[in-house]
């Protein structure tokens, strides 16, 4: 159809092919000789209702198979120039490369795969909720850099109110405070047309400063104020007995269930309801929405406030869902990673959730690998999964399109 585009696509496919072959060679050269013995992946605990035998993978052969497979995928890409399967090949290639890496690291040892997956999900929760908050506000064209601050505010409030009045009250307060910051952001950018990035950064710095001050000045003195109960895991009857899937998905705390349910609800809201259609219209073409009698400002206020509430809920995970106490700056940039998850997830709630799971997996992978004592320095281990994620996203997801009016204030005529 189009000569020039085809050429560009062909070149991209070739590059993908070469990259896959190179990856295959690297794995064969560096990993295979070291991988003596078998890697044992434990899939269930002896106490489980239906125990599943361990997954035992012979190290060397598996790695050779993977590198052969990578070389095959790469060669196919390079020779055929079939752009159609390029993204899929790259995705599969990277996934099996990660598997080979895991086998190499585990060779001769044993390792709880289920445990790692369970941890992946837990670690994905704040990122997923941050990403979801991002989706809700960017779909109405408000860029929400302030998610990091909203998470932190939720974590702090959860710990404080949780210590005083119990977990449920703490959670409710965290959601409410998140909503307040969402409302403040909406007021700043919608009513006062402040620059959206600056307004978000303001929220982040304000919350960081305030919570750090209180935690170092007050919590040090009155430790009872920072000793909140933690939400226990809830086993879903029957479902939690399914091997592997059960412990990973159905034996978690309310934050995990909440993230999944909220992603589903947000999808229904945005894509299957009247108000979702209107919200998206406001994010794409606010003037058009206005001429049809849709209140652009009110829509933005509501969505950004709800986004703040979701972020507040996500923030409570740090304290009420995990350690029960607040530490300075304990969100550690999860809000920003959540925004990355939103973009990688193409501004779709489920996409953001899946992207967050990839990040969560990366996070827990590096932790477990550090325990296995591989020869690679831990700093590099910590880095590698993120690098892989970026490659996957750049190669597999491709160019995503933000809502057309994203970041632009709307001025009524």
């Amino acid at each position: 159809m189009t000569v020039l585009l085809d050429k560009a696509r062909q070149r991209q496919t070739r590059v993908t092919g070469v990259a896959l072959i190179a990856l295959g060679v690297l794995i064969a050269v560096f990993f295979a000789p070291d991988a003596t013995g078998s890697a044992t992946f434990r899939l269930s605990r002896p106490t489980d209702v239906w125990p599943v035998p361990n997954l035992v993978v012979p190290g060397g052969p598996f790695i050779y198979v993977v590198s052969a497979l990578l070389a095959f995928l790469g060669a196919r890409q390079f020779l055929s120039g079939a752009a159609k399967w390029s993204a899929l090949s790259l995705g599969i290639g990277l996934a099996i490369a990660v598997a080979a890496f895991l086998v190499w690291a585990t060779a001769g040892k044993s390792f709880s795969l289920t445990g790692m997956l369970q941890a992946s999900i837990v670690r994905a929760v704040p990122i997923a909720l941050g990403g979801l908050a991002g989706v809700l506000s960017e779909r109405v064209a408000v860029v929400n850099i302030g998610i990091e601050g909203m998470l932190l505010a939720g974590a702090f409030t959860g710990a404080l109110v949780g210590s005083l009045a119990g977990g449920v009250a703490g959670l409710a307060a965290a959601v409410a405070v998140g909503g307040v910051f969402g409302f403040v952001l909406a007021a700043l950018v919608v009513t006062y047309r402040m620059d959206q990035i600056i307004a978000g950064v303001f929220i982040n710095l304000f919350v960081l400063g305030l919570t750090s001050y209180i935690s170092s000045q007050v919590f040090q003195e009155y430790r009872a104020l920072n000793n909140a109960p933690v939400f226990r895991t809830i086993e879903v009857p029957f479902l939690s007995d399914i091997p592997v899937i059960g412990p990973v998905f159905f034996n978690q705390n309310i934050f995990v269930y909440g993230a999944f349910i909220l992603a589903g609800l947000a999808t229904y809201y945005l894509f299957h309801t009247r108000h979702g259609l209107r919200a998206r219209a406001v994010g794409e073409h606010p003037r058009a929405a206005d001429t049809l009698g849709i209140n652009v400002y009110r829509t933005r206020y509501i969505n950004v406030t709800v986004a703040g509430m979701v972020a507040g809920f996500g923030g409570a995970w740090f304290t009420l869902g995990s350690v029960g106490r607040f530490d300075e700056g304990m969100t550690g940039g999860r809000g920003y990673i959540g925004l990355a998850a939103m973009i990688f997830g193409r501004w779709h709630p489920v996409g953001a959730l899946l992207a967050a799971l990839v990040f969560g997996f990366a996070d827990s992978l590096q932790q477990k690998l550090a325990l296995l004592r591989t020869p690679i320095p831990s700093e590099f281990l910590a880095m590698a999964p993120y690098v892989a994620t970026i490659v996957v996203v750049a190669g597999v997801v491709g160019r995503a399109r933000a809502p057309a009016a994203d970041g632009k204030p709307y001025v009524k005529e």
Partner: protein
């Protein structure tokens, strides 16, 4: 449903946009509202559709005075507007766009898209507006998008349809189709307000005409009794001479010689297909054709903005096939781009800055690498006066000028130097009668001084009124050539050639 505007006045601060306007809109009738850009047509209609509230006066619907606090109120009262710049969400489907704001819903606020589709289909059948309810709007041609806008208004059960400059974005064929749609809406008992500044169109479609100038209704009448000069005089306030004055046709030597030129679109498709043409000194060559037949690519190539895939361009004997835009500019080639806002000027720059965009680096304005603003301002002041650019100041941003003044600014920049060849793409698109006449006069003056002029326009009337020689472009080739000086040219024949029928 009959709507009356009674004594409507709308002020923005101290600016009076509409003053004591009275209008009656009747069912089954097309009311043509004629006025130049900036005359207050759009403001008046925004008052009617609830976007603005009038400073004074009232809107009376079927005898009852009403008050609109927003577009929603006007829509509920049965007044719908098709905006000049479409109010469609590109990434939504046709059905989603149509129902937005008045969506059919089931339980839990669930959007009933099946019902929406059915309703779109019913309306498109009822009024003969063919559209695919599931198509994404961004994939549709402009003419079809306009149908979606109309369906949108009909879906809201509007009895009064306001069409703001609806033909500005349409090709001649699409205009014909569009007029049929307007007539069928009228037959169905809808009241139509047709806003335009195009005299031919308003005479063709209206049942009644009202002319607005400087915010006031200055005349009304029956299109059967009015003529173009009558309307033009009412519109601009003084008699308008439609005949472009020029010296007798006496072409000199060949200035531009294009041979076997082939140009590709960005996507690799052929835009200009082995095209050859010559332009002589003192000659206006008009290229007629429906938009999208390679005219834009031809102009871009001649201006040096798009590399040709094959062929040769000679300018006064020198090969300029691969010359840079600046080199061409220095040789005396002036370029008035098709899209004045995207390529002609920088909206956020001032009038003075825009005036020297092409020459800021020259010794005239630059002194050892720094711009001498004193000289720039002096030159800009002279040029704005010479070319009748109406701007509050040379330091006002160009984006705030009206279309006509923006175009005059570009013409001033391009022609206020020694030129040999002028390449003008759609030089008068969307302009008011006064500006059109002015720009034509300037181009003719350049011709009379011995420049070669190439004008591309999708408005056949414009081509006919200015050209010494007419070329018709179809699918990247010149398919017909006419010389009005030798034999009278029939509009119908050109129209057929534009549609690709072999002459």
């Amino acid at each position: 449903m009959q709507v009356e505007l009674k004594n409507i006045t709308k002020r923005f601060g101290s600016v009076v946009a509409n003053k004591g306007v009275n209008l009656t809109i009747r069912p089954g009738e097309v009311l043509g509202l004629l006025g130049e850009n900036g005359a207050g047509k759009s403001t008046l209609m925004n008052v009617l559709c609830g976007l603005y509230s009038p400073t004074e006066g009232e809107i009376v619907v079927d005898g009852t005075p009403v008050r609109f606090d927003g577009p929603g109120d006007a829509i509920r009262a049965g007044i719908g507007m098709v905006h000049q710049h479409f109010m469609l969400i590109p990434v939504f489907t046709v059905a989603e766009n149509v129902v937005l704001g008045v969506e059919p819903v089931g339980r839990f606020d669930h959007l009933d898209l099946e019902k929406a589709r059915a309703q779109v289909r019913r309306l498109s059948e009822e009024y003969g507006l063919a559209v695919d309810a599931d198509a994404l709007v961004e994939t549709l041609p402009v003419g079809v998008q306009q149908r979606v806008e109309i369906i949108k208004v009909l879906f809201r059960e509007a009895d009064v349809l306001i069409l703001d400059e609806p033909t500005a974005v349409l090709t001649p064929q699409e205009v014909d189709e569009f007029f049929q749609i307007v007539r069928s809406l009228c037959d169905a008992g809808k009241a139509i307000v047709f806003i335009t500044h195009k005299l031919n169109e308003i005479l063709e479609i209206s049942d009644r005409i009202s002319v607005i100038r400087r915010g006031e209704i200055v005349g009304s009448g029956d299109p059967k009794k009015l003529t173009r000069p009558d309307l033009a005089e009412m519109m601009v306030g003084h008699p308008v001479d439609f005949n472009v004055e020029r010296a007798p046709f006496d072409p000199g030597e060949v200035i531009l010689d294009v041979s076997d030129l082939t140009v590709l679109h960005d996507d690799g498709a052929v835009a200009v297909d082995h095209l050859s043409l010559q332009i002589r000194s003192g000659e206006v060559v008009g290229i007629a054709g429906v938009q999208g037949n390679g005219q834009s690519a031809l102009i871009e190539t001649l201006a040096g903005l798009r590399p040709p895939a094959g062929g040769k361009v000679l300018f006064e004997g020198a090969d300029i096939t691969t010359a840079s835009p600046r080199a061409r500019h220095r040789m005396g080639i002036a370029h008035i781009p098709e899209d004045r806002q995207a390529a002609g000027l920088i909206g956020s720059f001032t009038v003075a800055e825009n005036m020297v965009l092409d020459s800021y680096y020259s010794a005239r304005f630059s002194n050892r690498g720094s711009i001498d603003w004193g000289r720039v301002n002096a030159a800009a002041t002279t040029a704005t006066q010479d070319y009748d650019v109406r701007t509050p100041s040379i330091h006002a941003t160009a984006g705030h000028l009206s279309g006509g003044n923006q175009q005059k600014l570009i013409v001033a920049r391009e022609l206020s130097r020694d030129t040999r060849l002028v390449i003008a793409g759609q030089p008068t698109r969307g302009l008011d009668v006064g500006s059109i006449a002015y720009i034509h006069a300037r181009l003719m003056a350049a011709r009379d001084e011995g420049d070669g002029i190439l004008i591309v326009s999708s408005e056949l009337d414009e081509i006919l009124s200015v050209s010494d020689r007419i070329l018709v472009m179809f699918k990247g080739r010149i398919v017909a050539e006419y010389e009005p000086n030798k034999a009278p040219v029939d509009k119908g024949t050109i129209g057929l050639a534009m549609a690709g029928a072999a002459p």
